[in-house]
Symmetry: none
Subunit: 151 residues, 2 copies
Amino acid sequence: MKERDNRLQQIRELIETSDVCSQNELVERLAQKGCVVTQATLSRDLRRLRINKVATENGYRYMYAGPELVTARDDSNDVAHHRAPIKSIEFSGNFVVIKTRNGYATGLAYDIDMSHSPLILGTIAGADTVFAIMREDADRDDVADFISDFK
Amino acid sequence: MKERDNRLQQIRELIETSDVCSQNELVERLAQKGCVVTQATLSRDLRRLRINKVATENGYRYMYAGPELVTARDDSNDVAHHRAPIKSIEFSGNFVVIKTRNGYATGLAYDIDMSHSPLILGTIAGADTVFAIMREDADRDDVADFISDFK
DNA sequence: CCATTTTGTGAATATTTTTGCACTACAAGC
DNA sequence: GCTTGTAGTGCAAAAATATTCACAAAATGG
């Protein structure tokens, strides 16, 4: 439905550009922008968008916060032992599928991203798997070597 | 105080090892472990620990989630107004790899999904990267233009 | 088309979370 | 020893949020 899509977009913008502290507040702001909606619907919208109320220094605030972000944080917790996180590297089409020890995928994906290698266009990580997309002209052996370096 | 430090530790463990959906539930679990506390105090403890209730696939769950996760790296800190979330758009095979500012990938992916464009079959998002699969007969320039519109 | 299912919504309500207030325990300074 | 100040807490109430129910609009499938 056009109506709701528009509303969700408005919500995203409001969340990004200002500190919203409660759903009622958001209801009012949306109304000012022409989106009339009840708090009940807003609750559902926010759930859809994975926008949650989170604690900050001084109060509460609505922002994106979801499982995938938390995984990233958990990683940084226990980097105690230096066991290699990479378990396997396999290819399929222009995809690289990297299996890691549980919890390390997000961290590895981040490291790969930060290397800005010309071989890799981007990554997405779960708890123990990284999907990386290779550049079309990249060589698999080169990529495998490159990724293996992240011990 | 010794008492509270111990309790906070118990809370962390419970949060990490099991799905806790409400503060009352947590009160009960803590009681089982010997920590007797009211829900009110728990609310304060969770705030202190930056543990929030976040939306997941099927329901809600308590977990670490906070500003530091989203603003962890580079820029998203001092965003004042309307900076475009999209950083780059690249192609490989039938994939589009879209890099965004940290935290915005999920929202963008959602917006792309909701547009129901005939050009895009589906998306998957991490924290700062969206993978979108193009229809086999879609033109790259068309797709690039289409995605660029999501400012 | 029509019947059926799915989806989006508001109103009211249930549930959950936060907070104001009062009280206690403990600490520091006199 | 007193006073004063500061945390930590429970209780109760307020505030905020999620969900149930009912219904309408839209999609789906004959």
